[in-house]
Symmetry: C2
Subunit: 390 residues, 2 copies
């Protein structure tokens, strides 16, 4: 046998990556400090120094999530991996799961639970809407789920879902409260313990401004009770919380057994991003995101654009959804802004496709300067893009 497939010519061209202002719903821009942290030399996934970095990450996540949960760690993967980690561990085949669907995330959670053989029920709201506690309680009572899924920040529709009281309702019906905070955490108040959230996860590439590839997750004592008394093993070895808990030093055992090779460089970046959040403080970050979002919303309305989420309180400050301007092709607008202004903004996703434009202002990207830039770009796009007579 001999080498019959030659080295590809395309790899002779040096890697070239443009600088771009990332104001879509994520990934957001990554500060040089975090990029450089990730460029530190590789050490072993089981070295003492790595365990210390993981321990720092754990503390940083506990702060960001406002939780004392020992079972707090980062999954070696993206937000979707964390989502599957939550569902694969908390749900067994045949169990009842309830998901709140007011955008793409509820749909995806439902699909994940279905794939592992759960009986899935949904409560559904049109894009832009959300649920009252009474509606949630009714569904909890009707379907007796073991897990209730809710997206705190529905990045596809720009909705910030209220959380207060839902944890108590879930616990009243002996159900775990699972919350997706990928698009919200760090930019909006959230108190995992006080709000009775049993499983909470996020991604690294939104408010945290780290590269995509790691996903913080935390499990309450109540969640651990269910998970560690399962009748069957979780479907995934890679995401089995028994193994992850040991790798992250959360199980109190004196030694750690090799599970998988953690992405150590991504851990460096994640640690740095958590350090930056701790430096600014959660309260300051929340305030900044709120003020910048209000400034942005005012600017949009003064341009005559309409916000997709009617209730001011239900607007996600990290991802703003704008009603797709009448008579325009939304794709032409986002393409124009990318080409002419080197700024990413995006269209809808899943159920909001065609309905909205989405602008992310997350972490270091949440600034008035960026708002001014994106407003100017939008004005320019509306002037130059083709407007059909509808």
């Amino acid at each position: 046998m001999s080498v019959s497939i030659p080295p590809p010519k395309c790899l002779k061209k040096p890697l070239a990556v443009p600088h771009r202002l990332m104001l879509g719903p994520g990934p957001s821009n990554v500060p040089a400090r975090i990029l450089q942290a990730g460029a530190n030399p590789v050490i072993g996934h089981m070295h003492e120094e790595t365990f210390e970095i993981m321990s720092d990450i754990k503390s940083g996540i506990q702060y960001m999530f406002q939780t004392r949960n020992i079972m707090t760690l980062a999954v070696s993967g993206t937000g979707h991996t964390a989502m599957e980690c939550a569902i694969f561990n908390a749900v067994e085949a045949g169990e009842s799961v309830l998901t709140a669907v007011n955008g793409i995330w509820g749909e995806r959670a439902a699909e994940m639970a279905q794939r592992i053989g759960a009986r899935v029920n949904t409560i559904v709201s049109p894009p832009g809407g959300f649920f009252t506690n009474a509606e949630i309680e009714q569904a909890l009572s009707k379907y007796s789920p073991v897990v209730f899924f809710l997206a705190h920040g529905e990045s596809s529709t720009g909705v910030l879902h209220p959380l207060d009281g839902i944890g108590e309702l879930c616990h009243k019906y002996d159900c775990l409260f699972l919350v997706d905070s990928v698009a919200s955490i760090g930019g909006v108040p959230l108190y995992m313990d006080e709000q009775g959230i049993d499983i909470l996860y996020t991604g690294s590439q939104k408010v945290l401004n780290a590269p995509p590839g790691t996903a913080p997750i935390s499990f309450s004592e109540r969640a651990c009770q269910k998970i560690f008394h399962r009748k069957t093993k979780p479907i995934s070895f890679f995401l089995d919380l028994n193994w992850l808990a040991n790798y992250w030093g959360c199980d109190g055992k004196p030694s750690r057994i090799y599970h998988h090779t953690g992405p150590v460089n991504a851990f460096y970046s994640l640690r740095e991003s958590l350090a930056i959040l701790a430096e600014e403080s959660l309260e300051n970050s929340w305030k900044r995101h709120e003020k910048v979002a209000e400034y942005f919303q005012a600017g949009l309305e003064s341009m005559g654009l309409k916000l997709f989420v009617k209730e001011r309180k239900a607007r996600l400050p990290t991802v703003t959804t704008i009603v797709a301007p009448h008579g325009y092709n939304w794709k032409e607008i986002t393409n124009y802004i990318m080409k002419t202004h080197n700024i990413e903004i995006s269209g809808g996703l899943g159920p909001s496709i065609g309905l909205v434009l989405r602008v992310g202002l997350m972490g270091c990207n949440s600034s008035k300067t960026n708002v001014d830039k994106v407003l100017a770009a939008l004005k320019d796009a509306l002037k130059h893009c083709h407007k059909s007579k509808v």
Copy 2:
């Protein structure tokens, strides 16, 4: 509600990562060129430039694997993720799977297949051993599996498994041939197409010298036929090949739908590592790994140490296993070498724990200079470590 968990003090300490010579079984050292590629600015996971980088990666993997498979991509995760990707897609609950167990990887593949409800049978060899084609054929005939798993490089035992003829045998019994090449690819000849391998995967952190966190994988036409005619959906949405194929532009469809946020910075590093392999050429890399391994083996034997794998041809040039020196505590040796020489070497893993020391010489780490360093460190350790009278 208010913030009750304060910012952790540990995050005030700047990140400090030591430089270390990584001669364990992986991760191996990452050259500055690859680290800096990964520190390029983040762009979108759906941007044209990212798709081009992904296309380059695809070509690089096709070269490294020696395959023309269109269904070639990198999973957003570690080697274990790729392992689950292969099994989750290729196997349905109730189907028969055969795994060759001559170390930890066969055990883990068996466990993964069991978790999704496959009927799993194994052929087992003591650590350090491997299987003849006759033994494999006997088991194929007996168990009629839909997938046969084999580790090309058994990094826990240092065995390089022969591959010739096994693909044909699998196909004779209408079975897919699934090969783990995490520890071998790029350092040892392997011809995916010519050797009839249906699914092949590896990790980024071994011979490729990229940080851990991405995992190349490729599926033959035969594998795709089975996967795309499944009766049930794969258990994981995140690893569903239908979705991954679309994200990686392998399904011929004109547009790509958002699946998950790829770890773009890890893709930059992976592309760079594949470019370096293409520059050196597979043949040169194979030769270098072979020569360096022979030089190392000769050095070990001249020190009076014994190689764990008796047959010279079955020795993995990337990971060398040394019989744990009689009378010593292996852990004392690896700790001493780490502390005194700043070099990582490792003990056994899974079935080889206590039996061996393992030294990895992978990618840029495969050099005579490094061999001299590790031989000197071993000599020093044997002199200074406690030798019990057994």
